[in-house]
């Protein structure tokens, strides 16, 4: 705008302002203030804002499981055990839900298979999979094992969590383990209206003692006979922890050992490793090794996942090798055989491992680690 016009405009504006002040300026001001007040209060529209509503869009545990094809056998089991109504209630619950595959592994393939089971024990088994609280993976410290939470059967569940991203480009490993059963990242932390659900790949198994675990499975009859003969059976009924690597009857048959041979063994003639190689005075699930990783050293047998001296036969180690699949092995502690195992075995399939008892864990293996003739005490 040209400067002269600007000056004229300004003069006009000043004149107008002076006029308005003169003509009852107070009145105008009051009106303005009132108007402003009205606008001001009008702006405060007090609407009830719901910042957080417990969503009713989430389904409850019972409905979620019922609507999930991969959990149909778990649903059938819950139905058979009359637990569905409980899972509709407020909770909160944490559920470790085994997939259909996990039930198939145990020979349960259709819903009707549960009909023949005792309702009471089925109910106990299922309550064993539930915690009376919400437990998200973030509640468990990363890269730890043995976080104990009491479940709805009032037994402790041992929870491990591996959460690791070794480098910026590496894939995130986030595995959640309960008593050795694994829940992968995609199926963890499923939010329910009344809790949280983690899908696991194995049915959790529980017996009061290790003796009960072994007695409940006919395939370990020869192993039980060996333990009894060698005087190691009683420990498995006592409270002290033992992790048992149990060879099945097939393993004994492969080695040509019969029940009769075992009955005729003279325990005094054999080194303790004949039976104790299978017993660790410890308590762990196979998944614990995946979380803690290998021991320092080199080679399959030099940097194993685990290695411990055999109690009562300390020149020998029992270990679990670093190769995949992890192999249980026995090794002599002194050179020249220090890095060559005397004998190796293999684990039975995943569903035959991680049998939890109050005094330890049982893992099935499919080969013997010590043959009787190898354990003979040599007379000098």
């Amino acid at each position: 705008m040209r400067p002269d016009i600007l000056a004229i405009n300004q003069q006009t504006a000043n004149r107008q302002a002076k006029d308005s002040v003169r003509s009852g300026s107070m009145k105008t001001l009051i009106w303005f203030v009132l108007l402003l007040n009205t606008l001001f209060f009008h702006a405060c529209k007090n609407k009830d804002l719901d910042l957080y509503v417990e969503s009713d869009k989430y389904s409850n545990a019972s409905d979620f499981i019922g609507n999930n094809y991969n959990l149909s056998l778990f649903y059938a089991a819950l139905k058979q055990a009359d637990l569905l109504d409980m899972l509709k209630k407020e909770g909160p619950y944490t559920l470790f839900a085994p997939t259909n595959k996990a039930f198939n592994d145990l020979g349960i393939v259709r819903a009707s298979d549960f009909a023949g089971m005792k309702q009471d024990s089925l109910r106990q088994l299922l309550l064993y999979h539930m915690l009376p609280r919400r437990l998200y993976t973030s509640d468990v410290p990363p890269n730890t094992i043995d976080n104990k939470y009491v479940n709805m059967m009032e037994k402790e569940l041992f929870i491990g969590y591996k959460n690791q991203k070794a480098c910026a480009e590496c894939t995130l490993i986030s595995d959640f383990y309960v008593n050795g059963s694994k829940s992968v990242l995609a199926t963890q932390n499923i939010v329910l209206a009344n809790g949280v659900l983690h899908v696991v790949d194995k049915v959790l198994k529980y017996n009061p003692t290790i003796q009960d675990v072994l007695n409940s499975k006919p395939e370990y009859s020869l192993f039980i006979a060996l333990l009894k003969r060698m005087g190691d059976w009683n420990r498995l009924g006592e409270p002290a922890n033992t992790t048992v690597f149990a060879p099945n009857n097939e393993a004994f048959e492969k080695a040509g050992i019969t029940a009769n041979d075992i009955a005729q063994l003279d325990p005094g003639k054999y080194g303790k490793r004949l039976s104790r190689v299978y017993l660790l005075y410890n308590h762990f699930f196979l998944s614990d090794m995946a979380i803690y990783g290998q021991l320092p050293g080199s080679g399959y047998y030099g940097s194993p996942y685990y290695r411990a001296r055999i109690v009562g036969d300390e020149l020998y180690y029992f270990g679990i090798s670093a190769n995949t699949p992890m192999e249980p092995f026995i090794i002599h502690s002194q050179a020249p055989e220090a890095n060559t195992p005397l004998r190796i075995s293999n684990f039975q399939p995943g569903y035959q491992t991680d049998y939890k008892a109050d005094n330890g864990v049982v893992h099935g293996i499919n080969g013997l680690l010590v043959l009787p003739e190898e354990a003979l005490i040599k007379e000098n």
Partner: protein, 413 residues
Amino acid sequence: MKHKILNCPIFAVIALSFVFCVASCTKTEYRTVEDPAYIRVFNNLTYTLTLDNKEEAQPFFCMFIDPEFDASGKPIGGKAIGDFLDKRNIYAAPNAAHAGLSTSKYNPEYPGKELVPTAPILNGFDLTNWAQVPAGKRRFLFMARPISNVPFAQLPDEQQRKVFLDTIIDLSSREVYTLHILQKDFKTKENGLYVRQETFHKQAFSDTLTYVNFYNLSAKGFLQADLSQKLPVPGTTRSLRYGLLDTMNIFITHIQPSVNAAGATVQQRIPNFSYQYAGQMQRNIDAPKVTPYYGFPIFLQDKNKIYSDTWQYIQFFAPAIDPRTAVSYLEPPSVPGGLTEPAVKDGTFGYILMDHTQYAPSYYLNTFFPGLTVNVHSGTANPRTFGVVNSIEVVNGNAFLTTVQRKYPQPIY
């Protein structure tokens, strides 16, 4: 007239600045501690959890001094809280090395990164690494906590209830204490708090000498334990890995780097300052007591220089072994290759090298440490070497160096 004054712009400016002036006054409340004692806390538990020792607590703590508890018995506060107390560093520097520099929450010592009132300069010694706590009987509670960035109070409830150590100690007014969380028994895995009342600020130290003393704070039965049981400790000081005998003689050899005719740096020992007997180190974790300090001169570089590049080669020998006559040990500055030396395994021999050029802080526990002197920019000299007071603590196969320095003139740029 009045009207005029009110309309005067200068008046307005003055009035406004007066308003601003009053508004900007804030009262700073300095935290003071009545009748303080000075403490520094180290966590000496360096073990990692494996399947064999998984029942032990995670050696990562939240420390409460005079804790307060909520109705359910969970500690929620106290006179002081030191969260994220991690295992200690190989080297505890004399300056406030942690203040404002670190991006990690993990604290290698207390006070370390905690913003608490620290101790003043006592008798010339800079005690910024010691925290003030009220003197008297104080309850120290160490809660084991998982290793994570989550503050203790925000952890899930069940993880705030793992008591690791709960003890009461008596702190005297204006005394300096070093506290160590130690393993007391290697077999039973019993742990305890070791409290040492320091005396360096009361001793008549010369400022042209540098001083060092030695402690063996290893657990009972560590040396005697099976070698395989000592293995899971990652990257421990190689030469001390299997432990030392309860009584060891200490010999210090001073090494002087020089440049030879070909232009290469060679490390040579100073003949008259080789194998200097520096006293005896005895294992003692039950009756904390300051051990005698051994002093040696700062070997300044030739004429008119105030900087030293000598370093110290420290050897530990079981009594009766004399390094001047024993031929089976390499002569400093040579380093024995690996652990083939039989004596390393039976605890009759060990060595550490206080060579700052080989010291790597990122390499967690190794044989090399920064020197026993401090080189800094002070006044117009850059660098200048100062004598300091050091403590070397041998704990279960690891060695740790703690250095305390005197106040020195600030640098002039």
